[in-house]
Subunit: 291 residues, 2 copies
């Protein structure tokens, strides 16, 4: 730490349980950057003063979390294309007082897939949820070239809106499912990929799942849960028991964070396999995940 | 580092060469505080946005250096008594969005004296300089109970002002010296304590000294130079050669910083002799001081 050390931070309300400081400082150490990453509890009414303060103090970058991801867009000087399309940002970059807004969640989803990315080209995807996380996933799905996107969400109006948005991203075959009417069993059976982008499966819903007919799951399914704590939700467990390929949200969390750091530093920043495994263990320990 | 880690920082313009981040993070490590200390380059026109940002982000404390020490007083919610008297602050403390302004330089001077503090009671002090540092020293001298304060400064009007201020601090016998008129040789000979609070002796004035008649220095003199780089200025060297007791500004730098951290943490924070010697070595290494 010296007078040239750059500060990065995450802002949110609440912020107490954010894993970002631990994870980002782990990155900073591994990549030997002269930087440090803090967390600030910022209330909505203080958001503007926070961004102005970022400019005044030369804070290099800020990660934005709930509930500021949408509101922060108004205070940036420049919006990345994906921020315009999604109406939300999770990353602010300060270039000599000029604040640009970015969103790294879609990238985080994509990079987290690794070799599984190939499964998405031309696939039919069943997506549970239509909130901010689901929007980011839909954006990534468009880039991955899925053929069909079916959106299941209790608040059906939100599902319709997301379907329209997904069409604007380029997924022509995007539709909202009205649960009591839609033949969920058949849809689930025919989907190649099933994604949970709702909080169901997290505490206090850790014994719940969005899936109604787990019996139709086969070895050909790919189940992806954005939830990472618990490491294996009922959603993933029931799929794994039937031989499906499963993945939780931990790697997406890691890659969305790493991508913010890449934007800030304008460096490639690649993790070796060894580093990546170390980071996963470190994160699981922080989360208190045994598995 | 986690989401509860408190951020402290120093602001100034320039700030590149500040030693505060290195020193304060050393303290933070030694005292095992969950905190981190950064440096922000803040321009005068951004000072208000910086303080508002401090409130919005919950930055725990800020050290203020040149050129903001006076201007910052206007943006604090509450001023400590010494800040009122000195018209300058070097420490802002954030208590749930309420910003109080403090000045730790007088305390830093006092605590740096250690056993030499006894020399000041009833002493006659010759002080070179009448800027912000000299004001802080004058405030400390009042508390230390000096009998007489004579102020030598090229800009004589500033010396007169400081003499008036010193009187208000309680040093009845305070006066400005007009160099061409004042019998400097006799004054120096009769002073018990001689303090340099000017930048003379620092690079690029490192071969200069404020003292015109070093030959009258004796073993009874105490010479204190606020300059700490070089570690031994010509001011101190000429005094030491004549057997005087000498001290440079390094310990004052250390104690003014430590005192800020005490204000922020509301903890006693005492250094053991071993820690203190380690810190001095660390600081000298940072400064590139051999001696």
């Amino acid at each position: 730490m010296n007078a040239s050390t750059i500060l990065y931070a995450v802002i949110g309300d609440p912020i107490q349980h954010s894993l970002s400081p631990a994870m980002q400082n782990w990155f900073i150490e591994q990549f030997r950057l002269n930087a440090v990453y803090a967390a600030f509890h910022v209330r909505s009414e203080d958001l503007r003063a926070c961004i102005d303060g970022m400019r005044a103090m030369g804070i290099g970058g800020i990660n934005v979390t709930v509930p500021h991801k949408e509101a922060v867009v108004a205070w940036a000087d420049e919006l990345a294309d994906d921020v315009r399309l999604l109406g939300a940002a999770n990353t602010l970059k300060n270039s000599d007082g000029h604040i640009s807004a970015h969103v790294t969640d879609p990238h985080g989803f994509e990079e987290s897939l690794g070799g599984h990315a190939d499964r998405f080209k031309g696939a039919s995807v069943l997506l549970y949820g239509a909130g901010g996380a689901a929007r980011s996933v839909a954006y990534a799905l468009a880039k991955l070239g899925v053929r069909q996107l079916l959106i299941a969400e209790v608040a059906v109006q939100k599902a319709f809106e997301l379907a329209e948005l997904a069409k604007s991203f380029g997924i022509k075959n995007a539709a909202a499912l009205q649960k009591p009417l839609a033949p969920m069993k058949t849809i689930l059976a025919n989907a190649h990929i099933v994604i949970n982008a709702t909080p169901v499966g997290m505490h206090p819903w850790h014994e719940k799942t969005v899936v109604d007919y787990p019996d139709v799951i086969t070895v050909d399914h790919f189940f992806y849960d954005l939830v990472y704590n618990p490491g294996k939700t009922r959603f993933l467990r029931e799929a794994e028991e039937r031989g499906a390929t499963v993945q939780n949200g931990l790697d997406m969390l890691i890659f969305q964070g790493l991508h913010s750091l890449r934007l800030w530093t304008e460096q490639e920043l690649r993790l070796s396999t060894g580093q990546f495994n170390d980071l996963r263990s470190f994160m699981k320990k922080l989360l208190g995940i045994d598995e």
